[in-house]
């Protein structure tokens, strides 16, 4: 169980990235959803001991992560949002190097682990290839392999599926789901399907604030009967936006399909739809915007 209490962080340029965030994250996959710039990465990096918060605490079971970083790091697996590789080093050599740095210094153990990891992430056949020649998906899988070194109890993956093609994405998420059975896995993303498909629990964060936390199904249920759809001309969208809480717009066949949040059908032509997590997500963002405007 990862317990976050009252975490706040303001950067030197005045941007308040986290505002009093508190979260309880049990074992299993946990989705952290939010738009770009919401503070997801700041939160993840803080949990990964790479950045200090101004106030607040993080505990992994009994361990105070912020106070005892070396101990926390021994339990941690982290795949950052953007990470590089030494382009001229092979996947195997690099993974071996990482294993040493993490503390797997016994040669035999390390060799077995590296082999197993490469097989696990399906990079065994290309283990001798230079990392510079890897595609985006291969790199992400390499990234998850390094995050799995040393039986981490807490795994943090920051927007891992951005830029992956659908097949790679599936393969990657399957891998994560398997890992997530016994440890805490925090998956940060702005792609709603990632969370829907995988995460028993989730949180939505925007403007540095926690907007919602809980199970996706519950959140969706809260919107039952409140999401409406209509196909309108492109030119009319602005008008709708002014009058109603438009959740999302999507082009289809030259026209636009609107999703609107309302307790009852807003006007003629709207039909009720079964809400999904995306509606929840946009709903949270719009509510927030409305609150700010008010």
């Amino acid at each position: 169980m990862l317990t976050i209490r009252g975490l706040s962080k303001t950067y030197a340029n005045g941007v308040q990235a986290l505002k009093d965030v508190s979260l309880e994250i049990p074992n299993g996959m946990f989705g952290l959803l939010g738009p770009n710039g919401a503070g997801k990465s700041t939160l993840m990096r803080t949990i990964a001991t790479l950045q200090d918060a101004d106030s607040g605490s993080i505990h992994l079971n009994d361990l105070d992560v912020l106070a005892d970083k070396p101990a926390a790091r021994r339990l941690l697996g982290y795949l950052p949002q953007e990470f590089g590789v030494y382009p001229k080093v092979s996947a195997e050599a690099m993974l071996d190097h990482f294993a040493v740095l993490k503390g797997v210094v016994v040669h035999g153990e390390r060799k077995a682990l590296v082999d197993a990891l490469l097989k696990q992430v399906n990079l065994w056949d290309v283990r001798k290839r230079k990392l510079g020649t890897f595609s985006g998906g291969m790199r992400q899988r390499f990234g998850i392999a390094q995050a799995l070194i040393g039986n981490p109890r807490l795994i943090i993956v920051d927007e891992p599926t951005a830029g992956l093609d659908p097949e790679e994405r599936n393969r990657f998420l399957n891998l994560l789901a398997e890992i997530g059975e016994n440890v805490v896995v925090i998956l940060s993303t702005h792609i709603v399907e990632d969370v829907t498909d995988l995460c028993p629990r989730m949180a939505i964060i925007a403007q540095g604030q926690l907007r919602l936390t809980g199970q996706p199904a519950e959140a969706i249920r809260a919107l039952d009967g409140r999401v409406w759809r209509k196909t309108v001309a492109n030119a009319a969208i602005d008008d709708y936006r002014q009058r109603m809480t438009v959740l999302s717009t999507r082009l289809a066949g030259g026209k636009t399909i609107l999703h609107v949040l309302a307790d009852a059908s807003p006007e003629g032509g709207f039909e009720a739809v079964t809400p999904d997590l995306e509606d929840v997500y946009f709903g949270q963002l719009r509510m927030h915007a409305a609150a700010r405007a008010a």
């Binding site: 030197a12 990096r45 990964a48 001991t49 790479l50 950045q51 200090d52 070396p70 101990a71 790091r73 021994r74 941690l76 982290y78 795949l79 950052p80 953007e82 990470f83 590089g84 590789v85 030494y86 001229k88 190097h97 990482f98 294993a99 040493v100 740095l101 993490k102 503390g103 797997v104 210094v105 016994v106 153990e109 390390r110 077995a112 682990l113 197993a116 990891l117 696990q120 399906n122 056949d125 990234g143 390094q146 799995l148 070194i149 040393g150 039986n151 393969r171 399957n174 891998l175 398997e178 890992i179 059975e181």
Partner: protein, 1198 residues
């Protein structure tokens, strides 16, 4: 389109703060260089004005070259801008022509680069206007000079450089690639400059220098100060050719850039990889569950070490296989190879590649690259993870904070070792090529270890600065500031190694004495700085950034968190060690030794003159008898001296004041002479004034007994205590008491003199100053003295001093040490000038007509002992026959460590530095045998100094040095023939002509020279050889013999050059008076050249050769102002057949005769037997002529 691109790019350039920073920094540097002596970049010396046209052009050219590495940012930046910013594809999708795009960018980069030089010019202009600049050293400022400098030098130089950079940047698409290319160019340029830096290759050197410095040098090589102040070379000849060639090269580079430019992503690729065979099909893996083998995460010391080791190895591989390192290594090895192949020559003769010469070559041409490597890789290593965006991953690992830093330091040290070892291997290879197999692996290893330590300290500082700055470029800037500050501090005389990070006293190496006692002091300093480096590294580890880049507040908070017991203990221990070692060093350098910063030393010299010059003419007694016992303790570097003088009053008045001089290093234990009072005792200057209770009456004598001790204890800030050393001690009579004021101790440089409030340096007494003839060249306090010494040393060394060995024995002294004693005695009076030496010698002995000959040498330096012995014999027999009998019955030559480079002739004894002659490689019969020549010169001094010594006034050094040169030339010519003499004299002429353009006071004619080396040695050789050529060797020898006969062992008044010239004129006859005057009493420069040679075959099979000639003669005054004179000496006219092997020395002489030739243009026809190939006037360059290459010309057959 072009103008739009140009304007856009130029706006970008001028908006960049970097442009203004560089321009301002360079302008400030120019300002400082123009206005002060503390920064020297070319610039005016001596009589040349600070703002002389010559100086302005030279400085602007040097700034252009120096600026090469900075303006790259603008020019290469212009080429790379769109690729770096990712805007390239947007530009190339527009209908913009390649020429307009590249041309606009290039032109703007070029203009920006020129802008920097304009600021430099402003700096130079304003620098000399400052009130602290001595107006005496300024000439008028002329705008024309600057226009010339820009037109002829700056604009074309920078055009070529910019074109080169632009091409490199376009092709490599990388700033690093551009820099590497530039460094390659720079190294090649240096190699070319070194390769062509001899009088034989001037023309080639002038053409291949892209900056025209070579051509400028050829045009101005022998210019006098006067010419430098008023003239600039015309844009003709080599200079014009050079400028045109390199301007064309620049244009070609721009054209190549446009032709080779590729707008696509890949840029230019010299080779393309073949596509691999089809990629393996992607197979969806069978679904399986997560199973990973169990592992343990270790965190103990063993695990930490293993992590450290692996990380260090990983970082090291990263550097060693990095392009930049490999390129630097390649450049270094090329540079070292070039240096080895071309340096270490004297008169074109190489010396043996003994190992310590190899390490010196590395010092001079290789190791400097390590500075660049360290500075560069400190940044690369510290930023390695972050620039590869890997730190995001690795920083979250449970690796302790200090391990990455320690690994990077280790990697850096490993890189230093690899680099040095590669250089050492190259040196070994070179030794093998030269057929030298006496390798000294121990010396190589210690050299590598010592230099690793030296550079590791710089590396530690660079890492520290990079970590603390937490910005790569700021880190680079800081390390550059460190390098600059070291240079600047030294210039400002802040020269104590205690506050110059990482520095230590130099470590002179000698084959005879190894590193000697210098090693200890050197290592103490290194340990001192290593302690500080450790402390810095602890601080760096505390501030090591992990995770997101942070502000200072956060970093110091984290540092405080990390500051646990271990770092506290380590920091405290290293700071304590630093302080403790500092105290120990201070005790050694400043308490038991004397530390005098450069400016203080000058002030002390000035004080010496201010206080005591008033006593210069005070009558003092002269030494007549010397008996001195010298106990040498080479291991303790101690000498005990017990001496006895007899002093005589040779003046006509009673002497009541005795002024004793003694070097600071010698401590008086006891003095015993007539009853006296101490008037003053100045230990700093080593000048004590005694008042005798009873004045010494004219003609009376007195005893003067002294006990002295000299003891070099501990170590010094500079390794100048090299006189008494473990093996190879050389002391001379300067360590003994002397009397009266000594002018040699005065400050010489006229700018220093002005700065310290002294009038212009007093000149030598005029030649007709009769009172000066009371004193000879060697000093005012003795004429000829009797000499006897007992010198003792350790049992395994031989100790020597002038005189004949009377007795040698070993005994145990009171403190129980075995001592070896030598008693030497001279049986006739000699000059008051002795040496005392001791070393572990091998001895070679021989005899010649009852004269015993000995060479004492380091056993490993046996190479040329036979040549030296041979030279001794041939010299003694030539001089004994030609001049006068040798006055001694023994002659000895003794090697001493190469801390100093000279050979000096004492009575029957010549200390000879190991760095000249003993290790000359004379296996090539073509080389000039300077071991032979220097020996002949020194033996010559047994006549020309130790028989005939001149009065200390103008011209006196002609009587010893010039005559010794002449003597050696004659012996050498007899041994090696005239062709080799010509090769030798060509070097001598060049050194004379260059010497005179560097004159700071006044050039004097040979017979009036004021101890000016370029005159009495260099011009002396040329003049005496010409004299011999005109008058005949027999006549010159006869005159010298007659002169020696009359003047040898003469008591005051001593002889002068005027007396010698009278002898010469008497023997030569009136027809030679004007030539003798031209050679000895005037500064005469000839301008002889042949302008055309035509040959016509006659019916009888012979050839008529017609030479069109130009002759001229000028007289120069002391600052080089010239007046035309009439050419009136007969001169060699020569016609030569083609030499079978192309070597000048093997050519066949068809005709060679002295002919009277009219002044100015004329022609002459001679008839010869064979087919002429070349013909010329003064073809062997016997006369002083500034252009020696135009004296011959190929004949055109009609």
């Amino acid at each position: 389109m072009f103008s739009e691109i140009f304007r856009f790019e130029l706006r970008q350039q001028l908006k960049s703060p970097l442009f203004w920073m560089i321009a301002f920094a360079f302008g400030a540097l120019a300002f400082a260089a123009a206005g002060s002596d503390h920064i020297r970049l070319g610039g005016g010396i001596g009589n040349t004005h600070r703002n002389a046209p010559f100086v302005v052009v030279q400085m602007l050219t040097i700034f252009t070259i120096l600026g090469m590495f900075l303006v790259t940012v603008f020019v290469a930046g212009a080429a790379l801008r769109d690729f770096d910013a990712g805007t390239a594809e947007m530009f190339f999708a527009t209908p913009l022509s390649r020429g307009a795009y590249l041309g606009g960018r290039f032109a703007a980069g070029y203009v920006a680069a020129i802008g920097v030089l304009v600021v430099v010019a402003l700096g130079l202009l304003t620098g000399v206007l400052m009130p602290w600049v001595d107006p005496a050293r300024l000439g008028p400022t002329s705008l024309g000079t600057y226009l010339y400098a820009f037109g002829v030098a700056v604009l074309p130089d920078m055009f070529f450089l910019s074109a080169l950079m632009f091409l490199l940047a376009t092709l490599t698409r990388s700033m690093l690639g551009t820099y590497i290319g530039l460094i390659a160019f720079f190294v090649l340029w240096q190699i070319a400059a070194v390769a062509t830096d001899s009088p034989d290759h001037l023309t080639l050197g002038a053409i291949i220098d892209p900056f025209g410095l070579g051509a400028f040098d050829v045009a101005t090589r022998y210019w006098s100060a006067e010419e430098r102040n008023t003239r600039l070379p015309e844009l003709v000849g080599l200079l014009l050719v050079n400028r045109v060639v390199w301007l064309a090269a620049g244009v070609a580079l721009v054209a190549a850039t446009i032709a080779w430019f590729r707008p696509d992503r890949e840029g230019l690729r010299l080779w393309r990889r073949k596509p691999k065979t089809a990629a393996a099909a992607l197979v969806e893996p069978a679904h399986h569950t997560m199973t990973l083998p169990p592992v343990t995460l270790h965190g103990g010391a063993a695990a930490r070490f293993s992590q450290y080791f692996k990380l260090a190895a990983f970082d090291m591989r990263g550097v060693l296989f990095g392009v930049a390192f490999l390129v630097m290594l390649a450049f270094g090895m090329i540079n070292l190879g070039g240096f080895l192949a071309l340096s270490n020559e004297l008169f074109g003769t190489k010396i043996y590649p003994v190992t310590h010469q190899m390490t010196e070559a590395m010092d001079g041409s290789y190791n400097f690259l390590l500075i660049i490597i360290i500075a560069f890789y400190a940044g690369e290593l510290v930023w390695r993870e972050r620039s590869a965006h890997i730190s995001e991953v690795t920083d979250a690992y449970s690796l302790p904070d200090f391990i990455p830093l320690l690994s990077k330091l280790t990697a850096m040290i490993a890189v230093i070792v690899v680099f040095l070892a590669a250089g050492a291997l190259e040196c070994v290879g070179y030794q093998l090529i030269r057929g030298y197999t006496h390798f000294e692996p121990g010396l190589y290893l210690s050299y590598i270890a010592l230099n690793t330590l030296r550079f590791a300290l710089v590396g530690a500082l660079a890492l520290f600065l990079q970590v603390i700055a937490n910005n790569k470029f700021l880190g680079y800037l800081l390390i550059v500031i460190y390098f600059v500050s070291r240079i600047a501090l030294a210039q400002l005389h802040f020269d104590h190694n205690l506050y110059n990070f990482g520095s230590a006293p130099g470590l002179p190496y000698s084959d005879m004495n190894g590193y000697g006692h210098f090693l200890a002091g050197h290592l103490w300093f290194r340990a001192y700085w290593a302690s500080l480096a450790t402390a810095l590294l602890v601080v760096a580890a505390l501030f090591w950034v992990r995770g997101t880049a942070q502000g200072w507040k956060e970093r110091s908070r984290i540092a405080r968190q990390r500051f646990g017991t271990a770092p506290r203990a380590l920091l405290a221990a290293s700071l304590l060690a630093f302080a403790g070692l500092g105290v120990w060093i201070y005790y050694n350098t400043n308490i038991i030794n004397r530390y005098v910063p450069g400016d203080t030393a000058k002030r002390q010299q000035a004080d010496y003159e201010k206080r005591y010059r008033q006593y210069r003419d005070l009558p003092q007694p002269k030494i007549t008898d010397v008996k001195v016992d010298v106990d040498l303790y080479p291991h303790d570097r101690k000498v005990d001296v017990r001496g006895h003088y007899v002093l005589a009053n040779k003046t006509g008045q009673p002497i009541s004041d005795l002024h004793m001089r003694l070097p600071y290093e010698m401590k008086v234990i006891a003095l015993d002479f007539a009853p006296h009072d101490v008037v003053s005792d100045d230990r700093i200057q080593g000048y004590t004034i005694y008042k005798l209770k009873t004045p010494l009456a004219p003609g009376a004598t007195m005893n003067f007994d002294y006990t002295l001790q000299g003891w070099s204890r501990g170590f010094r800030n500079t390794p100048d205590d090299y006189h008494i050393v473990d093996n190879g001690t050389l002391l001379d009579s300067r360590m003994l008491p002397h009397f009266g004021y000594d002018e040699n101790g005065q400050l010489q440089d006229r700018n220093d003199r002005r700065e310290y409030g002294l009038p212009p340096a007093p000149r030598m007494p005029k030649i007709d100053d009769e009172s000066a003839r009371q004193y000879n060249l060697l000093g005012r306090d003795a004429d000829w003295v009797t000499f006897e010494t007992t010198i003792s040393t350790v049992p395994d060394q031989i100790a020597l001093a002038p005189g004949y060995l009377e007795k040698e024995w070993t005994e145990t002294n009171p403190s129980g040490q075995a001592r070896r004693y030598f008693h030497y005695k001279m049986d006739k009076p000699i000059l008051d000038f002795f040496s005392f030496q001791s070393a572990r010698y091998a001895v070679k002995k021989d005899t010649l007509d009852g004269i015993s000959l000995e060479v004492y040498y380091h056993p490993e330096h046996a190479y040329n002992v036979d040549r030296i012995m041979d030279s001794m014999k041939k010299s003694l027999s030539y001089y004994g026959t030609a001049f006068a009998p040798f006055q001694f019955r023994q002659m000895r030559i003794l090697e001493f460590p190469g801390y100093e480079r000279f050979a000096q002739s004492f009575a029957n004894t010549v200390p000879f530095s190991e760095s000249i002659g003993f290790t000359a490689d004379l296996r090539d019969p073509e080389s000039i045998d300077y071991a032979f020549y220097v020996t002949a010169h020194e033996v010559g001094h047994q006549w020309w100094a130790h028989q005939v010594i001149g009065a200390f006034l103008q011209g006196v050094t002609m009587l010893d040095e010039t005559f010794a040169q002449y003597s050696a030339l004659m012996v050498q010519e007899k041994e090696y023939g005239p062709a080799k003499m010509r090769k030798f004299l060509k070097y001598e002429l060049d050194r004379y002509l260059r010497g005179r353009s560097g004159e700071v006071v006044e050039e004097m004619p040979l017979a009036l020279n004021e101890n000016q080396q370029y005159i009495h040695y260099r011009k002396g050789s040329v003049v005496m050889y010409a004299l011999k050529d005109y008058l005949g060797q027999a006549l010159v020898d006869r005159t010298l013999a007659r002169y020696d006969h009359d003047k040898a062992f003469q008591q005051p008044p001593y002889t002068t050059t005027r007396e010698f010239l009278d002898y010469l004129k008497e023997d030569a006859g009136p027809q030679w008076f004007s030539l003798i005057t031209d050679l000895f009493e005037k500064i005469t420069i000839f301008d002889d050249r042949v302008t055309a040679v035509t040959a016509k075959k006659r019916d009888d099979g012979r050839y008529d050769v017609t030479l069109a000639l130009h002759t001229g003669k000028i007289y120069a005054d002391g600052v080089g102002k010239e007046t035309k004179a009439t050419f009136d000496v007969p001169v060699d006219i020569g016609v030569f057949a083609k030499s079978p092997d192309g070597q000048e020395q093997n050519e066949k002489v068809l005709f060679l005769e002295k002919r009277k030739v009219a002044d100015g243009d004329s022609s002459i026809t001679v008839t010869v037997d064979g087919e002429p190939y070349e013909a010329g006037i003064d073809p062997y360059n016997k006369l002083v002529d500034r252009v020696s290459d135009d004296n011959r010309m190929r004949a055109t057959l009609q």
